[in-house]
Subunit: 254 residues, 2 copies
C-alpha cells in the first residue's frame, strides 16, 4: 500500500530580508525531529522565499503611468500596485472589477503577477508588497542543494503559491518551482488495464504536491509555510516546474 | 503539529454496473485494517462511481448530427464521441486540434464533458465509454451515508476526476462532488499576522483534497481508485462541491 504523509513544520521564525532560509528550515526540521529521508519533498511557501530574498517593493515610491491608471480605473485597484504588476508581466490576460490576470514575465498566468500585500510589515510611511522570487527555479535548486548537503539525503523542494482558476471558485496551491522531482510526469504511450493507451497522459505532479501541502500549510495567523511530504514515489525523469507552464502558442484563452 | 496521511486502498475489485460501491469500499477498508475514524475523507475516483451506476454508453449506437460532425472535423475526434459530449454539455467553450472543452450540464468546465474511453471493457462490437455520474453530489452523499452507517463515525466523501488547466500543462484531480466537508472554505474577513485582511479569502479545500489523493491514486494498470485521507482539520461550515463551480456570469473566459 502506498502512503504519503504531510507534516507542517512548527517553529519556523518569521522570515525577513537576508535570512538564510536553508539554514532556518534545516534547524526547524531538526527541532521537529524530522531529519529528512531520501525522497522527502519540502514544500515552501513562495512568501518566505521572497521575503528572504528581499523581494519587497514600496508602493509609496511607485508612480503609475497611463496604462496602469487606466487599468486601475477598470479594476478598482491601487494604480501604483497596477504599475508594479505591469512591471512584472509580459501580457494582460483579463481585467474586470477587482480582477487583473496577467502573464508573469516568468510565464505563470496568475492574478496580480503574484504580488502579495498581506503579511508584510513595513516601516512608518512604507507600503510594502512582495514580488515573486526573481528566479524561483534557482531558489528551489539552491534550497535543495543546501538541505541535501546538510542532511546527506536526496530530497526535493517545491516552491508553492496560491492561484485562482478561471472556472472554479477558490484558490489552490500550485508549484512555482520544483527541484529534484518529476514536476510533470509524462505517461504518453502507457496503457491501462485493458491495454488501451491512457487518455490522461501528462500528470502535474508538482502541482498536486503543492495542493496537498496546502491542506496543512494554512494561511494567515496560524500559517506554517514549510511542509514535509514523505512517501511519494514516482520514478519518472526529473523535470522542473517550467514544464508545467503551457507555452503561449498553445494558450486558447489569451 | 498538523499531519495528514494519504493511504491508497489496495484490493478493491474491478467495479462493474450494479456493484454496491459502498459495500465494496467498506469491505476493502476493513481488509486494509483501516476502520475509518471521525473526520476521515474517502476520495473516490469518478470512474468507479460511474461504472457502478452503469453510466456506460456505446459509441456504436450513436449517430452524430451536423454540429458533432463539424466539431469532429475541427478537433479530429470521433464524431460519435463528439455527439455524446454535446449531449452532456450546455456550451462549447473552446475547440482546437485534439481539444474540445465544454461546460458540462452540471456546470464543470472540462475537456470532453468528462467522458472517458480508457479502462472500460466491452463486449464484441461494443465501443463503450463512460459518462460522469448523473448526480455526483447525490452519489457522494449516498456513499457517505452508507459508510457512516457501517462504521458509525462521521466521515466525508469526495468524488474526484482529473481536469486539464488552460495555462498549465498536465492534469490535476479536482472534486466533482463532496459530502461532509467544507469543499470551499470562505475566509473573507479573516486577518493575517499583521492584522491585515487576508488576500486569499476562499480556499478550494475539496480540490486540494482531490489533488492530494491523486498522489497515491495513480492511473492505469496500478490504479487504486479509493484513497483514505486522515488528519485534515477544517472547522468551516460544510459545503458541497457545487460551491467550487464558478457561476457562468462570473466567467471571464467563455
Amino acid at each position: 500500500m502506498t502512503a504519503v504523509t504531510l507534516q507542517a513544520l512548527s517553529g519556523l521564525p518569521e522570515i525577513g530580508p537576508g535570512d538564510d532560509l536553508a539554514q532556518l528550515i534545516g534547524e526547524t526540521l531538526q527541532q521537529n525531529d524530522l531529519g529528512p529521508q531520501t525522497k522527502d519533498i519540502l514544500v515552501v511557501a513562495q512568501k518566505i522565499v521572497s521575503k528572504a530574498e528581499n523581494r519587497l517593493a514600496d508602493l509609496a515610491s511607485v508612480t503609475p503611468g497611463p496604462h496602469a491608471r487606466a487599468l486601475a480605473a477598470t479594476t478598482g485597484k491601487d494604480a501604483r500596485l497596477v504599475e508594479l504588476i505591469l512591471s512584472q508581466s509580459s501580457e494582460v490576460i483579463r481585467t474586470a472589477r477587482n480582477v487583473l490576470i496577467v502573464r508573469h514575465r516568468l510565464g505563470y498566468v496568475m492574478a496580480n503577477a503574484g504580488i502579495d500585500r498581506s503579511n508584510v510589515p513595513g516601516a512608518e510611511g512604507e507600503e510594502l508588497v512582495l514580488l515573486l522570487p526573481a528566479d524561483p527555479e534557482g531558489s528551489a535548486r539552491t534550497l535543495r542543494a543546501r538541505l541535501m548537503e546538510r542532511f546527506g539525503v536526496d530530497l526535493a523542494v517545491v516552491i508553492s503559491d496560491s492561484f485562482g482558476r478561471p472556472w472554479r471558485v477558490g484558490t489552490l496551491n500550485v508549484a512555482l518551482a520544483a527541484a529534484g522531482l518529476p514536476a510533470l510526469h509524462d505517461r504518453r504511450g502507457q496503457t491501462d488495464r485493458q491495454g488501451r493507451v491512457l487518455e490522461v497522459t501528462q500528470v502535474a505532479v508538482a502541482d498536486a504536491v503543492a495542493a496537498a501541502a496546502g491542506l496543512v500549510m494554512g494561511e494567515g495567523a496560524e500559517g506554517t509555510p514549510v511542509v514535509l511530504l514523505r512517501g511519494f514515489e514516482c520514478d519518472a525523469p526529473l523535470r522542473d516546474a517550467t514544464s508545467l507552464i503551457r507555452p503561449v502558442n498553445e494558450d486558447l484563452f489569451r
